[in-house]
Each structure stands twice: as structure tokens, then as C-alpha cells.
């Protein structure tokens, strides 16, 4: 038993001290943070200057109302637009002069109300930058408000009453769980996808590390010396524990960063009226449990490949075969999120090679019956045990085989050799 730990410690230290690990562990959260926090910061602090715009009105009676509505558009605390009064004169020449000023960057844009603005319900916004969709939406809503109000008034309705009577419906989605009800703004789906991607990436990455470790021991020929001191089964166990430990370390660092970013994000987005779902204990715990199940399940397969081949290139086609269930899980992801309780979702989540991703996804999106969760864990553990036996056999024979790449029937024969 002590030797398993000695092997595990060596494997752990070798990974954790490597540059790739340090970069991956530190850099990945920085990139995650960059993707999530920077846009929030930009949204918060980019309240820039108000846009200077003029209104050219061919109808002759909407300008005042439109200018007032535009001035009422807020960007945070400030006004979004600054109205620059259009000079008097023939409309065409006024418009030409304003356009010149826009091009000369003396003005940011011109709102043009054509003569049939009310009847045709149309207007134009001419500017150097028409891609700032928030600004464009604000202009649209301001002008639309004025136009609709005018039309209602001319048809004899009280505009304020009508808008009050036809206001939109606020449908709140409340997620019910055993631990209580919680308002949910669809962020659960985002969270589920992010966490699932994290398990997927980690399982794949650390599985590959196991495979490359086995191949390296083989190509450097050190394995014969090690196998003369530690039995292949213990060597394999130590390797999986050590590399799994390194993977878990990175995984926990990432998770801590994600929680920190999430906490910061909630604070930042709380102002914007969006709340991130809290990561509950059951989600956090199953995140770690299903990562570990996935890691051991796939790492065993990767170790078997590593011991059967002579180089990483040779391993490629076999690797893709092993990755198939993982990739398939990603393809089924949306279907499972839509209907976490459908027959397909339940079935997939109980198949060991899909369990780590699909069952986890179901736990995040809804709370599946406990028996299903336990059954999936037991089935996966049983598969891991069976694979340990098979891989142990292949490993024992394979680590000393150099040269020809074995065929599948040969691999099967290896498992029968003692």
C-alpha cells in the first residue's frame, strides 16, 4: 500500500510542478474571468459621453415631442442623448448641412422624421456609427413612443391609459427543488453548460495525461525497472491516484475561481436585474463526484491504450474511439437540458460512459430521484472495477511490448494471459 502512495506522490509532483499545469491552473481562470468580468466592467463603466444628435422633422409637429422623449432616455444616471437644435431653413439643405457636420464629427447623428412618419410609421437615423444597438434601440423606442401616442390621440384615445392597459406580462420562472423554491432567470442552463464543459475538458485532458504518462514510461524503458519493484496493478493504481489528484487540484482551483467570479458577477449583474443561480451543496458535491467518476472511468481506458501502443501518434485512432461517448454526451446536452426527465435523458444518465456528464447535467437542471443517482454511481463504480481488471491485464502485458501495434483480438488475448 505504501508503494502505491510512493508512486502516486511521484506522479502528482511531476504533474503539479510542470509548467503546463501551472499555466493551465492559473491562466484558465484568468481567461474565464476575462470572458465574464471584462464585458460586465465595460458595460458598467462605458457610460461614455452622451450622443449629440439633431432631429429633422418633415411633419412639422413631432419635433418637440421627439426631442423631449430622446432627452428622457437614460444611460445609468445620465442622459443618453444631447439634443443639438437643428438650424432653420429648407429641410433638404438643413439635412445636407447636418450630414456634413456628422461626417466632420461635430455631431453624432440625425433623426429624420419624414412627412408621412405618422401614417407609414417610419423614421430614419443617420449617423457615422449605427452599430451601437443599445443607442439605436433607445432612439427607436423614443420615436415609436411619440408616434404611437400621436396616433392614439388623433384616434381619440387617452394614450397613457392605453399603454397602462396593454402593458406586457412579467412571467417569472420559479425553480422548485426539494430544498425550496428559487427564482431562476434561465441562468441555470448557462451554469449547467459551463460546469459540464469543465468536467468534459478535465476528464479528457487528464485522461490524456495518464495515457501519455504510460507511453512515456514505455518509451523511456523505465517501466521495466519500476515493474520489478511494484506490481503492475499497484503501479497503475498509483499512477491513476497521483494524476487524478493533480487533476482534482486543478479542478478545485478552477471551481473556486468560478465561484469567486460568480459571486462577483452576481454582485455586478444584480444591479442589472439579473441574478446568477447559487451553486448549492448538492451541485458542488456532485460536480466533484462526477468528475472523479469520469476521470477514473476514462483514465483506465486511456491507460489501456497507452500500454498497447508505442507512440502518441499510434494512439490517436484509439483515442477517438474512447472519446466518442464523451462527445456524444455533448451532442445530447441540449436535448437533456430541455427535457431532463425524458426517457432518453434517464436512459443515457444510467449508462456508465454517459453518466459523468449526463447525470451531472440532470442534477443541475432538476433534482432526479435519488435512486437514479445512486444507481448511476453504482453502475459506474462497477464498470470502473471491471475496467481495472481488464486494463490491469492489458497494462501488465503491454508495458513490455515494443514494436508492432497489437490488434484488438491480441488485446483480448492479453487479458486472458496471467
Amino acid at each position: 500500500m505504501r508503494r502505491i502512495w510512493t508512486v502516486a506522490r511521484r506522479e502528482y509532483l511531476e504533474r503539479v510542478r510542470s509548467k503546463a499545469f501551472i499555466i493551465g491552473t492559473v491562466l484558465a481562470p484568468v481567461i474565464m474571468a476575462a470572458f465574464m468580468v471584462v464585458p460586465m466592467l465595460m458595460m458598467q463603466h462605458q457610460h461614455g459621453k452622451a450622443l449629440r444628435i439633431s432631429v429633422v422633422d418633415a411633419t412639422g409637429h413631432l419635433r418637440g415631442a421627439v426631442e423631449k422623449a430622446l432627452e428622457g432616455q437614460k444611460d445609468g444616471e445620465r442622459s443618453r442623448f444631447e439634443i443639438v437644435p437643428a438650424p432653420g431653413g429648407p429641410l433638404d439643405s438643413v439635412l445636407d448641412r447636418l450630414r456634413d457636420r456628422v461626417v466632420a464629427e461635430d455631431l453624432d447623428g440625425v433623426v429624420v422624421l419624414p412627412a408621412d412618419a405618422l401614417e407609414a410609421s417610419r423614421a430614419e437615423y443617420q449617423a457615422r456609427n449605427v452599430a451601437g444597438f443599445v443607442d439605436v434601440l433607445a432612439i427607436r423606442s423614443a420615436v415609436e413612443g411619440v408616434v404611437v401616442k400621436q396616433r392614439l390621440a388623433s384616434a381619440g384615445f387617452d394614450a397613457d391609459r392605453v399603454s397602462n392597459l396593454t402593458r406586457g406580462l412579467d412571467l417569472a420562472t420559479i425553480r422548485l427543488t426539494a430544498s425550496g423554491a428559487r427564482e431562476d432567470h434561465g441562468a441555470t442552463v448557462i451554469l449547467a453548460v459551463i460546469l459540464m464543459m469543465l468536467i468534459y475538458t478535465s476528464v479528457l485532458m487528464w485522461g490524456t495525461v495518464v495515457m501519455n504518462g504510460v507511453i512515456e514510461e514505455k518509451t523511456s524503458r523505465v517501466v521495466e525497472l519500476v515493474a520489478s519493484s511494484v506490481s503492475p496493478a499497484r503501479l497503475l493504481a498509483g499512477k491513476l491516484l497521483g494524476i487524478g489528484g493533480a487533476g482534482l487540484t486543478q479542478f478545485l482551483v478552477w471551481m473556486a475561481c468560478l465561484l469567486a467570479i460568480g459571486a462577483y458577477g452576481s454582485a455586478a449583474m444584480g444591479m442589472a436585474g439579473v441574478s446568477l443561480p447559487e451553486v448549492g451543496f448538492e451541485v458542488g458535491a456532485s460536480f466533484v463526484v462526477f468528475f472523479l467518476l469520469g476521470f477514473f472511468l476514462y483514465a483506465l481506458l486511456f491507460a489501456a491504450i497507452g500500454s498497447a501502443v508505442n507512440s502518441t501518434q499510434e494512439a490517436q485512432p484509439l483515442t477517438i474511439l474512447v472519446m466518442t461517448p464523451l462527445i456524444a454526451s455533448m451532442i445530447f446536452m441540449m436535448a437533456v437540458i430541455q427535457r431532463p426527465d425524458s426517457g432518453l435523458s434517464v436512459t443515457l444518465s444510467l449508462i456508465p460512459f454517459f453518466t459523468p456528464l449526463i447525470m451531472f447535467l440532470r442534477i443541475v437542471t432538476l433534482t432526479p430521484p435519488l435512486w437514479q443517482v445512486l444507481l448511476s454511481v453504482i453502475l459506474t463504480l462497477a464498470t470502473i472495477l471491471a475496467l481495472t481488471w481488464v486494463t490491469g491485464r492489458i497494462y501488465r502485458v503491454g508495458i513490455l511490448m515494443y514494436g508492432k501495434k497489437p490488434t484488438f483480438p491480441e488485446l483480448l488475448r492479453w487479458t486472458r494471459q496471467s
Binding site: R2, R3, T6, S220, R221, V222, E224, A227, V230
Partner: protein, 307 residues
């Protein structure tokens, strides 16, 4: 008590018999040479002793006990396939290899410095494997075999890859260990090496043992004298002479192995007229000669048996 004892050990791969019903008794103490041509089954035998591969049948004992993990910890092993972890520093690597032999890290650490010093690797302790020369890696591999202070040392081709200085250092170290009472088992096909350091040898050919015993007994029992000749002229007729079993040309001289009942002086008249003889000396048969003769005789009889 035997250091290592094999009884009826057989191992076959896919119908090809690598080791066949092998009986080997390596006594405690002394230097034992395991000889054989390439592919004779030496490495397979040693791997079975180290439990890296399992025999199909037969029994292996280490220090009088059935070979198990604990018994195997008493063996230091330098495999034919040399290898160290490429990304580990020399000291970390040697400590790890001692620890998986059951030595505590502290003990291993205490023993490491003297060994590094002795093998001239002290300044290289913090370097990674791929920064070491081939000879240094070879010495490191040797330290890995002895750091846990095993009773028995199995060394597969210990001298290969060493320069003359390194080979001298290795030989002195081996003899020193032998004098301390360790049992050394050296597998090699470098006959000069084996002849210089071994007191007992076994010869394996095609998975079967064909010779086994004290080196002096084997030499005495080989029968037939060996003659060293130096001459000028065409010596192609030498192999045709009656009573000559084999001829080995070393360029500056030629060695003749004679059949057991052939007297060297009887040959002299047959040679002296045909070439200009400058040396004619009866010498002790070299292990090399015994090896070649035994393997050749065996292969010839195997051929004859088949016809």
C-alpha cells in the same frame, strides 16, 4: 542456501518456447555469469525472477523462499532495457526507485550521496536524465540497483555503454560488492568481462541450459587443447586439419580448438611446412572458445537430429 533457484521453469510466447524446463541453482556469494547468444532466453529468465513476466510452469525461489514481493526486495536489478524518467532530476529519481523497493526516504537520502560520489555523479544530482550522457545514465542505473542495499544483484550487460574508465570503475565496484558478501549475477555475452569477474557460469542456448558450473571446472572439462598460432602465408587449410574443431581468426593470431584426443604437437609438422610460423603456443581455452564450440556443437547436433 541458494541465492536464486529455478526448478523446471518454462515460458512460451505464441508457440515459441523462450525458456524450456530450466534448472538453475545460483549459490549465495560469488559472481555468477549467465551466458548465452542473443535470444537464448537470458532476459526472459531474469524477467521471470523479477516477476515482470510470469512463467508458464516451474518454481522460482529467492534466498530459499518462494519468490514473492518481499523476497524480491532483496534483489537489485539492472535491466537490459535501461531507462530513467526523462523529466525527473537524478537524485529525485534514485530516491523514488529506492523507495519503491521499500526503503524509507530518509535512509535512501543518507545512502545516495556516497554512491553519487563514488560513481562520479555528485555534481549531476540536480540534472534531468536527458542532460546526462549515456555512460552517466548507465552509472545512475547501477546506483538504482544498489541503493536499497540488496543481498543479490542481477545485472544485465553491466559493462555495455561504458568507456574503459567507466568499465574499470564498474568492475572494481562489482568486485567490492562481491567481497562484502553480496551475490552478483551478471548476464552478458561479453565473454572477456565474464571471464575476468565470474567464478561460476551457466550457458543457455535456445532456452535450455547447456553448461553450468565453476569456471575452472568448465575450462578443465572442456577437453581438447587450444593452440594460438601466428604465421605468414595462407592459413585457409587449418580448419581442414584432422582434430581441429574450430578456428577463430583474430587478425594478428589464430586460435585453434582441438578435439579432446588431439595432441597439439602432432599438428605442428602438418603446419610448419605450409606457412612461415612465428608463434605456436598451447593456451587455456578462453570462455569465448568454449561458448562458441558448445553453441556450434549443439546447433550441429540439433541439425543432425532433424535430418
Amino acid at each position: 542456501m541458494s541465492a536464486i533457484r529455478l526448478q523446471g521453469v518454462t515460458k512460451a510466447y505464441d508457440g515459441h518456447v523462450a525458456v524450456k524446463d530450466l534448472e538453475l541453482d545460483i549459490p549465495l556469494g560469488g559472481v555468477f555469469g549467465l551466458l548465452g547468444p542473443n535470444g537464448a532466453g537470458k532476459t526472459t529468465t531474469l524477467r521471470m525472477v523479477m516477476d515482470i513476466i510470469a512463467p508458464d510452469s516451474g518454481r522460482i525461489e529467492i534466498l530459499g523462499r518462494a519468490a514473492d514481493g518481499a523476497a524480491r526486495d532483496a534483489i537489485g536489478y539492472m535491466p537490459e532495457e535501461r531507462g530513467l524518467y526523462p523529466k525527473m532530476t537524478l537524485d529525485e529519481q534514485l530516491l523514488f526507485l529506492a523507495e519503491i523497493k521499500g526503503v524509507s526516504r530518509r535512509d535512501a537520502l543518507a545512502r545516495l550521496a556516497p554512491w553519487l560520489e563514488r560513481m562520479g555523479l555528485a555534481e549531476w544530482a540536480k540534472r534531468k536524465t536527458n542532460e546526462l550522457s549515456k555512460g552517466m545514465q548507465q552509472k545512475a542505473q547501477f546506483i538504482a540497483a544498489v541503493l536499497h542495499e540488496p543481498q543479490v544483484l542481477i545485472l544485465d550487460e553491466p559493462m555495455s555503454g561504458l568507456d574503459p574508465l567507466g568499465a574499470d570503475l564498474m568492475r572494481e565496484t562489482l568486485l567490492d560488492l562481491s567481497r562484502q558478501g553480496k551475490t552478483l549475477i551478471v548476464s552478458s555475452h561479453q565473454m572477456e568481462t565474464v571471464e575476468r569477474i565470474c567464478d561460476r557460469v551457466a550457458l543457455i542456448e535456445r532456452g535450455e541450459k547447456v553448461l553450468d558450473g565453476a569456471l575452472s571446472d568448465i575450462k578443465a572439462g572442456h577437453g581438447g587443447k587450444t593452440v594460438a598460432l601466428a604465421y605468414e602465408g595462407d592459413g585457409t587449410f587449418l580448419s581442414q586439419l584432422p582434430g581441429v574443431r574450430s578456428v577463430r581468426d583474430f587478425g594478428r593470431y589464430v586460435e585453434l580448438s582441438l578435439a579432446p584426443d588431439t595432441m597439439p604437437h602432432g599438428l605442428l609438422p602438418l603446419i610448419i611446412d605450409r606457412v612461415n610460423l612465428t608463434r605456436f603456443e598451447v593456451v587455456e581455452p578462453t570462455l569465448h572458445a568454449i561458448f562458441v564450440d558448445t553453441v556450434a556443437a549443439r546447433r550441429a547436433s540439433a541439425q543432425g537430429g532433424r535430418v
